[in-house]
């Protein structure tokens, strides 16, 4: 184990004190949403108790403080990602999903026309599929899918062919179902070599390994605060400044305008052009605290630790169930993260999750908003366990105990 101490992380998470069906909680659903450290909750409390006001248009002191909280979070996020152009590349949204919609309806609608191709992958979350289908319906673009191989990885053997007519490659850094980590740096090279841009879904990656936008050389990145120890109600779209500055507005309203008259409006410049209305302010205080917390742990430490956890779980799952529990995803930790989708022979994922709940184990059954991927593997659903920096090997112990019960019960 690294010097990183998950037991102390756990002590920072109030929800870890929950007892469920007489057992201590075994939270294995960080892929859906992470648990929230005390410091993040307290940062939002402090905001409401001392600094709350609407941002931007105030002169008085608390309005300035609220603005500093908000703009400070932009700075902090830019540094966290090593954004080449700094804070002016950070747009705050409601969640990763809004970020993709913004991308599709602003950049996409302005830059793409009938016949242009957006290349996504079969392992994308609906957030990175449906907005492109909507753009297909409104603008006649084509949505094409990079296939996923039987090894649960992107099949890029025919990438040259797939790239024909592509203006944007939009792929996830890590699959929320398979755990597969995609070669973003290499895909960026391919995209750029073909004159296309590349967008990355960082929802599953930003809290689990370090993100260096300069090194990745991508053009867009989307993610949600609630999956990175932060609060609900806040997401981020990062876009390269030279691209962002040419993008037309998305939603209309206060804060995104330069001028309005009864005859029309003109839009503001910078990220605020895309932030119509009163933004999630307290939530940005929470995001700043979450980033501080994550960086305090060390992103590389987190990645290394979760790799160990994942490796241990994969090994034991392979050993203990005589093949009745199948992992839908890469079977070793090479290029994969701590999301483990399970297919239990003869037991529907819903039932798996129901039995596990009796043991206090929180796993998520379902299609995980990745129905094309499910269809690719002929599955309706999986039961997914996923780790966070507060997870312990003992969580895997309980998971295995509960799985054994499910297998027996439906046996």
């Amino acid at each position: 184990m690294t010097s990183f101490d998950p037991v102390r992380v756990r002590a920072d998470i109030p929800l870890m004190h929950r007892v469920i069906n007489d057992r201590p909680i075994t939270y294995l659903d960080s892929g859906a949403s992470s648990l929230t450290p005390r410091s993040v909750i307290e940062a939002m409390d402090r905001y409401y108790q001392h600094h709350h006001a609407n941002v931007h248009r105030g002169v008085y002191q608390t309005a300035n403080e609220a603005t500093s909280v908000y703009e400070g979070a932009r700075e902090r996020t830019a540094r966290f990602l090593n954004a080449p152009g700094g804070s002016q590349e950070i747009v705050f949204t409601k969640n990763a999903t809004e970020a993709f919609n913004l991308l599709a309806r602003s950049w996409g609608a302005a830059s793409l026309s009938a016949g242009d191709v957006v290349l996504v992958s079969e392992m994308e979350h609906h957030a990175n599929i449906v907005p492109w289908f909507q753009l297909r319906d409104s603008h006649g673009i084509e949505v094409r899918f990079i296939p996923v191989g039987d090894d649960f990885r992107l099949d890029v053997t025919r990438i040259e062919e797939l790239m024909r007519g592509v203006k944007l490659v939009s792929v996830t850094a890590m699959s929320n179902v398979l755990g597969t980590i995609n070669p973003i740096r290499e895909l960026a090279e391919v995209a750029h070599a073909h004159g296309a841009l590349i967008a990355v879904d960082g929802a599953q990656s930003v809290a689990h390994s370090s993100t260096d936008l300069v090194a990745l050389d991508v053009d867009f990145l989307a993610f949600s605060a609630h999956k990175m120890l932060g609060p609900t109600g806040l997401g981020v779209l990062w876009a390269r400044e030279d691209i962002l500055s040419t993008m037309p507005p998305f939603l209309g309203g206060g804060g995104m305008i330069k001028d309005v008259s009864v005859d029309g409006y003109s839009a503001a410049t910078g990220p605020s052009r895309f932030e119509a209305g009163t933004p999630p302010i307290a939530e940005t205080a929470g995001l700043t605290a979450a980033i501080t917390y994550l960086e305090g742990l060390g992103m590389d430490n987190i990645a290394a630790y979760e790799k160990e956890l994942t490796g241990d779980a994969l090994t034991r799952l392979a050993l203990e169930f005589n093949g009745r529990v199948r992992v839908i995803g890469p079977s070793d930790t090479q290029g994969r993260g701590g999301v483990i989708s399970l297919d239990v022979e003869g037991v529907h994922p819903h039932d798996v999750a129901q039995v596990l709940d009796q043991f206090g184990v929180c796993v998520r059954p379902g299609h995980h908003c990745a129905k094309p991927l499910m269809k690719r593997f002929g599955l309706a659903a999986t039961a997914r366990a996923s780790f966070g920096p507060y997870s312990l090997v003992s969580d895997t112990d309980v998971l295995l105990e509960a799985l054994a019960h499910a297998v027996t019960m439906f046996g």
Binding site: G346, P349, H350, D351, Q358, G366, M374, F410
Partner: protein
């Protein structure tokens, strides 16, 4: 694990492992798909109504033990019954599945009458009563009712065909 046993009664596990009336029916049978978008359960109900009677019913699709057992139990319960009777059964079943919510909301007095009602229903429902434990697991209620809602729609559509 008393709770789990309430949910997974032996008869439910049996219908899950060996579902009745699996398969499809061609025209003139009515075919309606039911989705539970939240969990991905899919049920396709094929129903043949002749002279006001459900003369045949077949099911395809996939889902959890509760949705599968419920649809299997449903198919056994409705086959050969008049549309009128089937609609009654659907109503009784859905009432059974909503007791829980009433219990949360209503006063004790109303609750009792609902329960009395449910008891009456329970007797009428026969084997279907095995699903009564589902109400203790509110998220699973949608699993149990999916087939029934789909059947209602199929009956409506087959009646539309007639008119």
């Amino acid at each position: 694990m008393a709770n789990l046993d309430d949910l997974y009664r032996e008869i439910i596990l049996d219908h899950y492992r060996s579902p009745r009336n699996r398969g499809e029916l061609g025209p003139p049978a009515t075919r309606v798909e039911g989705f539970n978008p939240l969990c991905g359960d899919e049920i396709v109900v094929h129903v043949l109504v002749e002279d006001g009677v459900v003369t045949d019913i077949k099911l395809t699709g996939h889902g959890c033990s509760i949705s599968q057992a419920s649809s299997s139990l449903m198919s056994s319960a409705v086959k050969g019954k008049s549309v009128e009777q089937v609609r009654g059964t659907i109503e009784s079943f859905k009432r059974l599945m909503t007791v829980h919510e009433s219990q949360l909301d209503d006063s004790a007095r109303e609750r009792e009458s609902v329960e009395a009602n449910a008891d009456g229903d329970l007797r009428r429902l026969g084997e279907l009563a095995a699903l009564a434990g589902v109400v203790k697991f509110p998220v699973r209620i949608k699993c149990a009712t999916l087939a029934w809602n789909t059947l209602t729609q199929a009956l409506d559509e087959s009646e539309d065909d007639v008119h």
